[in-house]
């Protein structure tokens, strides 16, 4: 059974306050503001268990290490700013997937990533 440790509380808090997907390293730094001694191994272990528990979801972007976000937001995709390197959630979905799927293939899910500049960096 899952225990309520200082470390786990700090990690959950960091996610609640972040508002965008976090990498393990970002998470370590944020959570260390509350638990200085926190180690990276604990971060990875909690990322895994919070994911298994259904509290977190992995955000996997092509060509880079996974980030994580609080689960339960419904279907959405992500926008990756090439300048600040931050990842944003975007609502909606282009649809039209059936037309693109090759004949005989069984489509089960899809990922969709936008790249460019976020509003702050575009200004």
């Amino acid at each position: 059974m899952q225990r309520d440790t200082r470390q786990r509380r700090a990690i959950r808090k960091a996610f609640r306050e972040a508002g965008h997907p976090l990498s393990p390293q970002e998470l370590l730094e944020l959570a260390q503001e509350h638990v200085e001694s926190l180690g990276i191994a604990t971060v990875y272990r909690n990322l895994r268990s919070l994911q298994e528990e259904g509290w977190l979801e992995a955000v996997e972007l092509p060509g880079e290490p996974a980030r994580y976000e609080v689960a339960g937001k419904g279907h959405h995709h992500h926008f990756h700013c090439r300048d600040c390197d931050r990842v944003y959630e975007v609502e909606g979905c282009p649809g039209n997937l059936k037309d693109v799927t090759p004949k005989g293939f069984k489509l089960e899910r899809h990922e969709f990533v936008l790249y460019g500049l976020c509003d702050a960096c575009a200004a």
Copy 2:
């Protein structure tokens, strides 16, 4: 200046014959059929130089190591079979991207990945 070695010839040949994106490890195994002594470091060095030369393009899928395919195929996306783990090219594009892009964000490019079963594995 680029030299025409047995190793490089074997690597190019493997790509021409494969017909789908190759991972470095797959490529090593295929190219070793022609040059037994081929080492993985040489594979990675050639993947990079062939990419810089514009002959190859990286295919980056979320959450896994990059694969590579011969360049110059125009805009397309990929389908990843969860059963045989192979990656297929798919033509076409869902479009409708403007509607999904948040206000103030500047969209420059996008990636799109389909997951499911390929025709062989669905049967």
